[in-house]
Symmetry: D3
Subunit: 319 residues, 6 copies
C-alpha cells in the first residue's frame, strides 16, 4: 500500500497511515447506537469518517491527537469519506511527527526554546533574569506547541515560539543600531509579551485554535499576562521599577487604545517592543498572502490588513 | 480679632486662625539665607506668605497640613500677602476641621464608610463578601480623605467615598427597577471600582492632587485595581468565576477602548456599573458647572464635557 | 381538542384556537383565482396557511388582527402548514388577550398609563403639567400598544410604555440621590422623550414594526417630537423657557451627533434624561441577550452592542 | 476739515464725521460719576473714546447705531483715542450710508430682495410659493441687514442675503445642467435654508454678531427653521409632501451628523442644496483668505478650512 | 423576422441582429473539443450562448466587440440560451451603433469632444492651453468611449466625457457667480482631472470595466495623472507655477486624505474643482437611484451614499 | 582670551571665535541708517548682536554661514547681547567645523554616503541599481548636509543621511530574519524614500529648516519623489515593474491615508519600508525625549507622540 497524502485520495483507494484528529463528535445513529463522527487531516487536507457502534462507555477521541488508521475511500453525497476498518492511537514509538501533519513553525521547538533560554542566561540584570525565567517556567511545556493566533499571523503549531524568536532576532539587530536601548529589558519584554495568549486561546496540541477562553474574552492576553507577571514577582519576592516597566510593556505593546492597549508605549524599550511586534506580525501576514497569490496578480482583500496584496514578479529585469 | 475667611482679607487687616498649606517651597533669599514660600488656603481662597530665616536644618512644612497663624495682611506688587508673626502646626485638640478648609464631600467619611460596610455585611455571596472586605482593608484609612480626581469630577476631600456612595444608592435603585441583576456582584463592583485611584494619584490629605504617580501613568487605576484584586484573592485563597467577573468589571467600567477600557462591559452587571459611573460623574460635573453660571446664562466650554452648560431659570413659570 | 401552542404542533394534529395574523398577502392561484397567504403566530412561533378561493370583492385580512381558526396541520415541502377549515375574526367577547399572542411588556398598559398620569398630576409647574398632558392627549390611545423599536430594545407590544415607565422609576430614584435636579422638568422629559416614535415607525397593534414611515426616515422621532411639542404649545398658548428646555431635551436625548442629536445635553436634566435612556435601553438589550445564552457561555455578537455577551453562572460560589 | 478714514488718523488730528458704535459700556470714573466707553468704527478700523459725566438717567448708546462726532485725536498709553467735543445720533436725512461703515455685501439689500421675490413669483407650485413667501414675510425687514455668521463666511452686513442670492444664481445654473431637478423645490430650499439664523445669532444692525442666542445654542438654526416652517404651514393651512420635503431640506443641508444634520440629504434637491451651500461658503472663505495673503505666499491656517491657503501669482505665464 | 430586444426574448423565438460580447471564454467539452461560452447583450439584458467545435487555432472572440448573430432561443436548466446558427463580427458598414447596445452618455462623443476642444481653444494663458491640449493628445481617441467608473457614477460608455463636460458647464456658471476665479486654470483642471482613470481602469470599448490595472491599484489615477502631466510638461518644455498648480489640482481634487487626496485643495480654483467633481458625481448617483425607485418610496441603501434615497412624488400639489 | 561656548557667556566677558548665523535681518535705525540684526549660535545656545552702519550696498549676511567674531558681552533689557568689534566670514582654511556649531548626525556625511554607495554598488538588479544611482546623482551634494525634518525627528545637519543609513542597517537585519524579501528592492526603497524632502523643505547648510517650500506644501515629498523618479527613469530609458514598485514604495511609505499615503503598502518590501521608517523615526524621537528628562521622571507631552515619555532609572536592580 502506497503512502498517499489526503489531497491525493480518490474513490476506492486503500489508505493506511497516520492522521490528525481535527474534530471528533459522538452522535447517535437511527437505531440509537453511539457512533463517532471525525474529521481527520494531514498538512494537505481533511477527510471525514464515521466509527460506528462506539462503546457508550468509552471516551470520545480527543481533537489534536494522532491516530493510525486503515480503511477504504468511499464517496457519499459527492464527498469523499474514509471507511475505517481498523484504528488505534499513535504511540511514542510510532515513526510519525506531528509537524508533518499540521502547519507549523519552520524551526523545531527545541531549537527555539534553546535560543530563548540562552538569551535569558545572558541577562546581567538579575531581577529581569529571574522574572523572565519565572514566566517561562509558569508557561510550562505547552509553549512548545502553542500557536500565536486563531487566524491572523503565526496561526500554526509552535507559532508562539516562531513569533517570539523572530522578534528576538530583530531585537538583537535593533540593539546594534540603537545601542543606547536597555538590552535585558527589551529582550525580556519580547520573550514574555505574548505568553498571556496561552490563557486566552483554546488550542489543541496541533496548534489548532477552536475558540477564545472565558478569561481571553473578558480580560485578554495583555491583562492576563500582567496578573501572571505579578504572581511570578510575588512568588520570587521581586519588587521595584523593573516589575512596573515589564507590566507597562505588556500593557502597551499593541500601541493604541483601539488595538487593546489602554496606555501607549511610554519609554524607548516599550516603543521598540511594539514596533517589533507589528513588524513581525505584518511580515508573516504579507508573506502568507503573497505566497497564495500568483506573480503579477493581486490577492483578495486580506482582513487583518484591510487591503489586497500584490505579488510582484521581481524578475522582469532579467528580460 | 474677628474671624475672617481668606476672601474677606484686605490690606492692613490682622488675621489669626487656622489655614491649610496648599504648597510650600524652601528657597534662598538674596543673602543666601533659607526662607519658605507658602500658599495658605481655606475654602474661600488662597494667600501667599514667606517665613524668613528658616532654620536650614528644619524640615520644610508639608503640603496638606493645617497650621495656626497670626499676622498682618500686606500688599506687594498689587497682590495681598500675609506677614506672619507666629505660627505652629495644628494639634489634635485644636478646634479645627480639615473639611472647613477645603472642598470636601457633603457627608462625613464616617457616615459614608459605615454605609459601605453595612452594604458589604449584607452580601449573601461569601466569596464576594470576602473579596470586597479584603479590598477595603487593603485600601486602609486613607480612603477617608482620598479624592476621586485631580479636576474632572469629585475633585474634593473624600471625593472617592462621595462618588462611591452616590453610585451605591443609585445601584440600589437599579436593583429595584431591574430585579434580575445580581445584587452582590453589582454592589461589590461599585465599591471597588475606583480603589485603584489611590495608587494612581498623588494626593495630600486635603484631597488636593498634585500629579499622577509613576504607576498611574504607566498602568492606570483600572489595571492597578486588577492586580490588587488578584493579590487579595490569592491572599484569601479565593478562585473561580467571581474573581474573573470582578476583574472584568474593573477593566471595562470606562466602557470603551477610547476611554481606557480595552474590553467593553460584557455582562449586565458590568454594563450597569459603567452607566452608574458615567451618570454620577456627569451629574457631579453638570452641577459644578451650573453652580458657577448665573441663571439664564451659558458657561464657558467645560473641558470634560466638550460643551458649555446652560443654567436654566426654571422659575419663569411663576411669572 | 387540546390547547396547543404553535411550537408544539406536529403533522396531522388538529388545532382550534386564536392566532395573530403576522402578515397576509392576496395572490392568484394557477387557475387565476384569488387566495390569501397568511402567517399566523402566537408567542411561541409562526405557521403558514392558505385560504383558497378568496372572494375577489372581500378585503384582505389585516396584519395585527386576531382570528379564531380550526384546521389540520399538514406538511408541505418539509415545512408545516395549517389547512384551515373554518375561521373568523376574534370578537370583543372572545376569551383571548393579544398579550398572550405576542412579545409584550411585563405590565399592563392600564397600569403603566396610570403611573404616568399620576406622575403628571403631581407636577407643581403648571406649564410643564399642561404641556405633558397635552402631548399625551395628542398621542392618544395607540400609546397603549405602541412598541419602542423594530428590533434593538423594547421591541414588543406596549414597549414604548414599558421603556417610559422603567425610566420614570429610575428618574424618581435619581431625584433622591441628586435632589437639586428639577423634578417636574426631568419627569416631563422622560414622559414625552420618545412619543415621536409613534410617527416614525409603522407598527400594527401587535407591536410588530414593519418599516419606518416617510417622516421617520426624512426627519426622525427627535425632530417630529419637537414639531409636535411646538404645535401643542401653540394650541395651549404656552411660551417661555419651559418650552425651549423641553425642545432641547427632545433634541439632545441621544447624546451625540453620531447618534442623531445635533446638540449635546446642555443642562443637568437634559443630561440626566440621556443617561436614563441609555441605561434603560442597554439593560433591556443585555437582559435579552443573556436570556438567550446558556450560563457560562458567550452569545453571538449583538448588533446594537457591537460585542458578544457573557451569561455568568453566578452560582459557583455555592460550590 | 478734511475727510479722514479711521486708519488715517494720527495724533493731534481733528476729526468730524460719521462713525459706527461697535460697542458701548457705561462705567464709573474714580469720583463715582458715570461715563461711557465706546469703540467707534468705519470700514477701515476702530478707535476708542470716552464720554465723561454721562447723565445717569440717560440711556447708554446702542451698539450698531451711527453717530456724528467732532473731536481731536489723542494718544493714551501708546494707543490713539478720540477726545469728543460734540456728538449726536445720525438722522435719516444725514448723508451717510451704513454700508460705508461696515463690511457688507457687494449688492444692495433692495436688489437682492427683489431677485428673491421675483424668483418666488415665478414658482408654479402654489404650495411652495405660499410657504416660501410666508417664511420671508415672517423673517421681516431685518433680513435686509442680517449677516450669515459671526466669523466663518459672509460675516458681513446683509451677508445672509448675499449668501442666499449667490446660491440662488448657482442653483439656476444647476437647473440647466441637471434639468430633471424640481425647480421650485430646489429654489424654495435655497431661499429658506438659513432663515433660522435670524433666531440663532444676536446681531446688531451693522451685521456685527456679538453672540449666539439661547435658542441658537440649545436648538440651532436648522431646528428653529423647521419649527418656523411648521408654524407657517399651520397658519396657511398647508399640509402634504411639500412641507415634509422642505423640513428635510432644512434638516439635512449641513450634509452630515458631524456638522449638525441628523439626517443626510435623501433626495436630489436636498443633496443639491447641501452642495450649493458648501460651495458658496467655501468660495467666500477662500476668497477672503486669498485676498489677505500676498501673491505667491501661503496664509496662516484658516480655522474653518483647517489648512493654509496659497495665493497664486497666476501671472508668470506673461513672463 | 421581427426586431426583438434581449429582454423580450422567449423560448422558441428566432433572433437575428447585432449584440455585444460581454464576456467570452474558451472551454473544452466532454469530448475534449474546444467551444466558446459567451454572454451577449444589448441595453436591455444579457443572454448566454455556446459556439461548439471552435477551431483550436482560431482566436477567442474579444469582449467588447459587436457581432451579428442568427439563432433560436432555447431553455436550459430554466434559463434562456441562444442556439447560434450563424454569426460574424460587425463591420464598419453595418447599420449598428455601439451606443444602442450599452449604457452610454446622453450626448455623442463627438459633441462632447468638440465642446472641450472649443473651450481649450479659448484659453488666453498659453502654458495652460498647451498643457491641456497636450494631455488630451496623450489620452488619444480612447477618450471617446472611456467610462468614468466601474460602478459608482458615470459607469457607462463615454462616461468620462459625460462627467467632464457636465462639470465644464457647471464650471462656466461658477465663473459668472464668482468672476474673480481664474478662468483658464479652473477649466484646465476640470478637463484633465480624471484623465488618469484611463490608466487606472481596465475597460473594453463598451465602457464595461472588468478590473483595476496594476498601476491603478498601486498608484491610482490622481498620482498617475500627475506623472503624465509632468511628462507632458517636460515634452513641451513648460515649467513654472502653472504646472505646479495643475499638479496640486489633480492631487487634491478628492478633497480629503480619507478619499485619496494627501493634500486638501489650497487655492480657490482647486477648491472649486473639488466641489464641482463632488456635485456632479452625487447628482449622477442620486438620479440613478431615484430613477430606479417608485415615486413615494425609498431605495435600498446606496453603497456610495451610505443611505437610502427617497423618490418624491412632487405632484401632490396639483391635487 | 579663553574659549567660551555661548551658554557660558556672562556680562562683560570678551569673546573671540567662530559662530553660526542663525538669522540675519537688515533694518533701519532711528536716523535712517541701515544696520544688521543677527542671531549667532553654536551647539550650546544663541546670542543676539547688531552691526551698525551697514553699507547700504553690501549684501546682508546669509543665514547658515559661519563667521569669525570678536567683541564684548553686554546686557540690554535683561538679555545678553554681543557688541561686535570685528568680524569676517569664515574661510576654508579656518580651523572650524560646521558640525561643532549645530546639532548634527553622529557620523560624518562622507562615511554615510560611502555606506550608501557601497550598498548600491552591490545591487544585482541592474534597473534598480541605475535608478537608485540616478536618484542620488540628481540629489547632488546638498544631501551631505540636508536635515530630515524641521522638528519631529532627525532635525539636524545631515539628518537625512542619518535617518537613511540607520534604516539601511535595520533593513539589512530584516533581510536576515526574513530572507524571502527582495534585497535590492527593499534597499533601493530605503535609500530613495525621503529624497523628495530636499524639495519640500527650505533648509540652510546648517540643517536649520525655516519653512516648507511651495512644492512642499502643495504636493509634499512623497509626490515630488515620484515625479523625480519618473524623470530619472525617462532619462535612463528604464520602464517596467521595477519603476512602478518604487513609485508605490515612495507613495505608501507613510502607511495610511491619514499620514499622507493615499495607498497603503501593498507588497512585502513596501510594508517593510514603512515599518523601518516608523521605527527609526520613533526611536530617534524617544531618545531625544528621554535624554531631556531626568531619570525616574516623565517628560511633557511630546507633540509627535501625543504622550509624555518616562525616563526609566534602569539601575535600581543594583540596589
Amino acid at each position: 500500500m502506497e503512502n498517499y497524502t489526503v489531497c491525493q485520495l480518490q474513490r476506492d483507494m486503500r489508505f493506511e497511515g497516520f492522521l490528525l484528529i481535527r474534530s471528533a463528535d459522538r452522535r447517535k445513529d437511527s437505531k440509537g447506537n453511539d457512533y463517532v463522527d471525525m474529521n481527520l487531516a494531514d498538512r494537505t487536507g481533511e477527510i471525514n469518517c464515521k466509527i460506528w457502534n462506539w462503546d457508550p462507555n468509552a471516551e470520545t477521541p480527543e481533537s489534536g491527537k494522532i491516530i493510525k488508521v486503515r480503511g477504504t475511500v468511499q464517496e457519499y453525497n459527492g464527498r469523499l469519506q474514509l471507511r475505517i476498518e481498523k484504528w488505534r492511537e499513535a504511540r511514542d514509538e510510532d515513526p510519525v511527527d506531528m509537524n508533518s501533519l499540521v502547519p507549523c513553525a519552520p524551526r523545531s521547538p527545541a531549537d527555539m526554546t534553546a535560543e530563548i533560554r540562552e538569551t535569558v542566561a545572558g541577562f546581567r540584570n538579575e531581577k529581569l533574569k529571574q522574572l523572565t525565567a519565572g514566566m517561562l517556567e509558569a508557561a510550562g511545556s505547552d509553549l512548545d506547541w502553542f500557536p500565536a493566533a486563531q487566524r491572523m499571523h503565526h496561526a500554526e503549531r509552535s507559532g508562539l515560539l516562531h513569533h517570539t524568536t523572530d522578534m528576538l532576532r530583530m531585537a538583537k539587530c535593533m540593539l546594534q543600531v540603537y545601542p543606547w536601548l536597555n538590552r535585558d529589558l527589551l529582550l525580556a519584554g519580547v520573550i514574555i509579551h505574548d505568553l498571556g495568549k496561552m490563557e486566552e486561546l483554546k488550542s489543541d496540541r496541533a496548534g489548532n485554535v477552536s475558540d477564545y477562553t472565558r478569561d481571553g474574552q473578558l480580560l485578554g492576553h495583555l491583562v492576563r499576562g500582567i496578573t501572571n507577571l505579578n504572581r511570578t514577582a510575588d512568588r520570587l519576592g521581586i519588587t521595584g521599577e523593573s516589575v512596573v516597566l515589564l507590566e507597562h510593556m505588556l500593557l502597551s505593546h499593541h500601541g493604541e487604545a483601539e488595538y487593546g492597549s489602554p496606555k501607549p508605549p511610554m519609554f524607548p524599550e516599550a516603543e521598540a517592543l511594539h514596533w517589533l511586534d507589528m513588524m513581525d506580525a505584518r511580515m508573516n501576514t504579507m508573506k502568507g498572502a503573497a505566497d497564495k497569490t500568483p506573480e503579477g496578480a493581486f490577492s483578495e482583500k486580506i482582513f487583518s490588513l484591510d487591503r489586497g496584496v500584490y505579488h510582484p514578479k521581481y524578475t522582469e529585469d532579467a528580460e
